[in-house]
């Protein structure tokens, strides 16, 4: 999943970027409110991790502007202020969840997974489509009850497709999920990863819709 990280503290931002990447998210990191607005306008993110005390534009303002534009993507706020008032203001401004600093990286990841799951309309923590199941918490992928080893990018691609089975994603959309700014994108990498996934999971798990993109069927293969 592609995540926008908005954090002005260099050390914390660096840790979060690497930490989120360790769980196979593509992370773009901006350090102020104006940068966050620009990034949100330009790119399609699965979720935002937003620090509230930001230079140039307050985190709460970024959040309000985002919600005013009717964007529904999940936002998790990070705050160093732990009074109830601060939390209420954050949630009322449109945040979906919050964490008070200092927090646990594992908890941040778990909360993000929960937010992404809910945003995708998936009540169950384990994503399933046909014979394939994917557990975002353990990043374990099984096909017909047998564990399948996937590379980080293969996993991210499958995760994006299984987030909403039955909905096709274009190559450009998949690239958005896979790559953060500054990542090298090969011309046919999505095709390469799809090819690998088909080899590992079976040819009919991911279908190609000519001119539209790729889709994972809800109930697996009709065969």
């Amino acid at each position: 999943m592609r995540i926008l990280l908005v954090e002005d503290d260099a050390l914390l931002g660096d840790a979060l970027q690497v930490g989120l990447r360790q769980t196979d998210h593509a992370v773009d990191w901006v350090r102020d409110g104006v940068g966050a607005e620009t990034a949100l306008a330009a790119e399609d993110y699965a979720a935002v991790v937003l620090d509230l005390g930001l230079p140039r534009m307050d985190g709460l303002d970024v959040l309000r502007h985002l919600r005013a534009k009717k964007k529904t993507l999940p936002v998790l706020i990070l705050t160093a202020r732990d009074t109830v008032d601060d939390r209420i203001r954050g949630l009322d401004a449109g945040a979906d969840d919050y964490l008070v600093k200092p927090f646990d990286l594992g908890e941040l990841n778990a909360r993000l997974r929960a937010l992404l799951r809910r945003a995708g309309g998936q009540p169950s923590p384990v994503l399933a489509a046909g014979d394939v199941t994917l557990d975002p918490a353990t990043r374990r992928v099984e096909c017909k009850g047998r564990e399948v080893e996937l590379s980080a990018k293969e996993y991210a691609l499958l995760h994006a497709l299984m987030q909403q089975p039955g909905r096709a994603l274009s190559r450009a959309q998949l690239e958005q999920h896979l790559y953060a700014w500054g990542d090298e994108i090969g011309s046919n990498t999505v095709e390469v990863y799809i090819h690998h996934l088909r080899r590992k999971l079976g040819a009919d798990v991911i279908r190609t819709l000519r001119g539209i993109g790729y889709v994972v069927a809800k109930s697996g293969s009709p065969s």
């Binding site: 002005d8 503290d9 260099a10 050390l11 914390l12 660096d14 840790a15 979060l16 690497v18 930490g19 360790q22 102020d32 005390g53 230079p55 140039r56 990070l78 160093a80 202020r81 008070v100 600093k101 200092p102 927090f103 646990d104 990286l105 594992g106």
Partner: protein, 367 residues
């Protein structure tokens, strides 16, 4: 609104009223007794013999005098009682005030009511109210400072924790190395922040300075010598211009002041040269630290002096407390801090004006 009455007026007025009341009572009783005696005298007219008349007259006069003493017997205690009540009544505003003051605690310092107070105590209450306001402001500052400090400490702690978890979870040696290095950087930063917080807390608590005649130049030389290493790391030249001035101040604090100014210029200035100069302007010594870096936007001038404020363009390695410390030390010395753009138009210039030492002031007045 009721006009304020002085305690003296109240006391005099009420005492006069009590005396007048007792006086009237006495007059009334006397009048009744006299009438009674006269009636008796008229009912039994005395015999006309001179000797008998004289005896009768003396008897009546004696009776009148005796009757006159009787009302006074009651009037004096009555007067005493009335006076006690009157004085008590006159002093009620003082009792009420004492009760109000007793009800004030450090948590509840709202101003005392000043209307309808005796004129003698009104100035006292007004002074108390302004004192309360000062204390409340100080307490509020302290509360805000504690909250801000907690806030500022949480972010470096969050960074340390997250970096440590990244290092633990990392399977890549280079990534782990990077995270561990970052933890050390974070520890240094947190140490710096704590040191700055303690400096500021001590400055806030301590208003009794060790004031002596202090020469600024040796202080500047020492501070610049200490900062030389860091200046080399930042590829920055430190220049101390000619000039000196003596001020009345606390040498340790003045050193901390200059160190913070130079540190600030090094960390956040981003220039290639830092100029320090000591000049005299009228009865003030002016300590100026200028850099030729990226400067500060005009609208940020007032913000940079606020506690924990960090400029948007600055990296976040600072505590955001440097200029607060500078400002506080300047205030304690009765000086002023000014931020301006240097004449060259590049970078930023911070000027601290401090009162000259007494000897120098005379000298500059003569010169």
């Amino acid at each position: 609104m009721k006009r304020p009455i002085s305690l003296r007026t109240r006391l005099v007025g009420l005492t006069l009223m009590a005396v007048a009341l007792v006086w009237l009572l006495t007059a009334f009783v006397t009048w009744r007794e006299a009438r009674h005696e006269l009636e008796e005298l008229l009912a039994h007219p005395p015999s006309t013999t001179a000797a008998h008349f004289a005896k009768e007259r003396n008897e009546v006069a004696g009776e009148i005098a005796g009757q006159l003493l009787k009302p006074m017997l009651f009037a004096l205690p009555a007067l005493a009682l009335l006076l006690v009540i009157a004085i008590g009544f006159a002093l009620t505003p003082l009792h009420r005030l004492a009760r109000d003051v007793a009800a004030r605690t450090p948590d509840r310092l709202d101003p005392l009511p000043t209307e309808s107070l005796p004129t003698e105590v009104a100035p006292l209450v007004i002074r108390l109210n302004s004192l309360f306001a000062d204390i409340m402001r100080a307490l509020e500052n302290e509360r805000r400072f504690t909250a801000d400090a907690a806030h500022e400490l949480r972010t470096p702690l969050a960074a340390l924790k997250a970096q440590a978890q990244v290092a633990l979870a990392s399977v890549d040696a280079a990534e782990r190395q990077h995270a561990l290095t970052q933890i050390l950087v974070g520890c240094d930063r947190a140490t710096h922040l704590v040191a700055q917080l303690l400096t500021l807390a001590r400055l806030d608590a301590n208003t009794q300075l060790q004031m002596h005649d202090v020469a600024l130049r040796p202080i500047a030389e020492e501070v610049l010598a200490m900062s030389a290493g860091e200046a080399i790391e930042h590829h920055c030249d430190l220049v101390l211009h000619d000039g000196d001035a003596h001020v009345r101040g606390d040498a340790m604090l003045l050193q901390a002041l200059l160190r913070n100014l130079v540190d600030n210029a090094l960390r956040h200035g981003g220039g290639t040269q830092i100029d320090v100069s000591i000049t005299r302007h009228e009865d003030r010594a002016v300590l100026t630290v200028s850099d030729n870096g990226r400067g500060i936007a005009k609208d940020e001038y007032s913000h940079v002096q606020q506690r924990f404020y960090r400029s948007a363009s600055a990296d976040s390695s600072g505590s955001g407390l440097g200029l607060s410390i500078v400002r506080r030390i300047t205030e304690l010395h009765g000086g002023t801090l000014k931020i301006c753009a240097p004449t060259s138009g590049e970078g930023v210039s911070l000027a601290v004006a401090l009162p000259l030492a007494a000897g120098m002031r005379a000298e500059s007045a003569a010169g």
